[in-house]
Symmetry: C2
């Protein structure tokens, strides 16, 4: 039998309150027999929510951390003073316990990234980045990095993102030789703003040294076409790719649903439901913090029950892939 | 009766050759009785194409300009040495002839913008920008500026783009008080990269002085939701908005067509055809050069017959709206 996978869920900081996180955890436990969860938050409230959700108690542990970091908190101050919060306490617990594979939180990215670096930094102590894993047209996943955490970047930072993304795709998704693309406004190497043109030269040099498989510039129209496994960009551009994709998909869905209604077409209504399940970026799992020693997922503030189920599945798959990867490495 | 509208069509520089431009012009002349065209290009070839297309010759004039600027030309060199080309000669002809309302060309943006500034600059001699006019969800048009011409911008340039876009929406689209939005990665004024944060402060100051109606930051998911009439961004981000929108729409279409085929559904095939006509950004007309004294449309290199018809319609509508605007101004 496979080993159980334990994940820590920060139940606070989301728009829908701890109840959504707990109900999501209960659904995930039902769906994934290997899953174990640690719920971080205020104990008494969590116990009530667990009872209400009919949670399988043998597979749940509560980590009492009643303090919460809110949008009103100054990120720098929260980072130093709210160490008993469910986010920072949860990161410390995830770091301390060998059996915890990874963590999920809805909390503020501006606190999460430096906090993840503090508690879960590897020996290299690199600057973390936020990645989004999106299903590409060819069925594979494309890792967009940075997905919105760092909006002003240097060329060296983008090269660093390329390595972080490649490492993720190798270790967690079993891609042997991840193809790295650079988001630009044209395919030719001369295209791009100053940042992109300078980064292009650096990535080409890394490729020449055999350190990366750099496939060149990728245009916005092909961002998620599957031409690369890792799409490198600054956080401002990465945020744009994700949000414009989502906005366009939503708008088309609205048009399709309206068209189905006006024609009373069940066939088209079924199509709309199918497309919504495929293109619901909101439920896709959220961003993944790269550059830390354990997987940390940043869920959206608006994450619902289903988002927690999807993130649990994502972490379980990562655990299985990493085990396979480590196995292969041992064999070599 | 309304006045005729004359447009100059640069028939060279497109991927499909002068034939596509001439056939497009013939279709447009059939569709729009007010239209007159001046075809810029090599005379003998154009005469053959006109005869083949069954063109209404009374409404066509050929402007002989056999030289052509190609992708192989150095932009700066072409700008100074290829003044007999269909693009530069066409701009000079458009500037010289009062009856020519505007011009369309598939030629290279890097030559077109400085050339438009040279031949068609207003008294202020401002730096031109490229705008894309996209149908927003609410049915109105959103002017995205800059749409890809200038990828490295200063805050002052973005403010300039805001004014150019506002002037366009007022004069050519009859929007009384155009709402200006700033593309960012979040709605709050503190969001954005350094460029966007600094631009936000400048636009807010312009709004406080009553010079612009600044509605704040607009996220990528709402770029084309109709929340603003003018969406201000640097050319790199503007290119991303256009290309990601197009890529996502195309991908969804592909999925819908595949779904329709697998279910042999005529209903869904009809839906796909409907959506394609709505979301075909490629046929939308192309970019508009702002900051010059007459409308100049940059069509895509891949522009087909229908693109020339759509651009003709766009220019005819602009002519009608501008006449109405000038009329109103005279009354005041």
């Amino acid at each position: 039998m496979e080993n159980p996978v334990t994940i820590l869920i920060d139940t606070q900081g989301g728009d829908r309150g701890p109840g959504a996180a707990v109900r999501g955890a209960a659904l995930a436990l039902e769906k994934f027999p290997l899953l174990r969860v640690v719920l971080a938050g205020e104990r008494a409230g969590l116990e009530r929510e667990c009872a209400a959700a009919g949670m399988d108690e043998a597979r749940v542990r509560i980590f009492d951390a009643p303090d919460c970091i809110t949008a009103a908190d100054d990120p720098a101050a929260a980072l130093f003073h709210k160490t008993d919060s469910s986010m920072l306490g949860g990161l410390a617990e995830t770091a301390a316990r060998g059996e915890i594979f990874g963590m999920v939180t809805c909390g503020c990215t501006r606190v999460l990234l430096p906090a993840a670096m503090r508690y879960l930094s590897g020996p290299e102590r690199v600057r973390p980045a936020l990645a989004a894993l999106l299903p590409a047209q060819t069925g594979i996943f494309t890792c967009v990095v940075d997905a919105g955490a760092t909006v002003d970047c240097s060329p060296a930072m983008l090269v660093h993102f390329a390595h972080l993304g490649s490492a993720l795709m190798k270790r967690m998704y079993g891609v042997g030789n991840p193809r790295v693309g650079l988001l630009s406004n044209g395919a030719e190497p001369t295209k791009g703003n100053k940042l992109v043109r300078e980064t292009h030269a650096l990535l080409a040099a890394e490729a020449a040294d055999g350190k990366l498989d750099f496939v060149g510039n990728i245009e916005g129209s092909n961002a998620l076409s599957g031409e690369c496994d890792v799409l490198v960009c600054d956080g401002f551009a990465g945020n744009l790719v994700l949000k414009v994709t989502e906005g366009t998909a939503k708008r088309l869905m609205t048009d399709i649903v309206r068209y189905a209604r006006s024609r009373h077409s069940e066939e088209i209504a079924a199509l709309a439901a199918h497309l919504m399940s495929v293109y619901d970026i909101g439920s896709l799992g959220g961003g993944l913090v790269l550059g830390v020693s354990k997987p940390v997922v940043k869920a959206r503030g608006s994450a619902d029950e289903q988002a927690f189920v999807n993130i649990s599945e994502m972490l379980i798959n990562m655990a299985a892939n990493r085990a396979a990867f480590d196995q292969r490495r041992i064999k070599i």
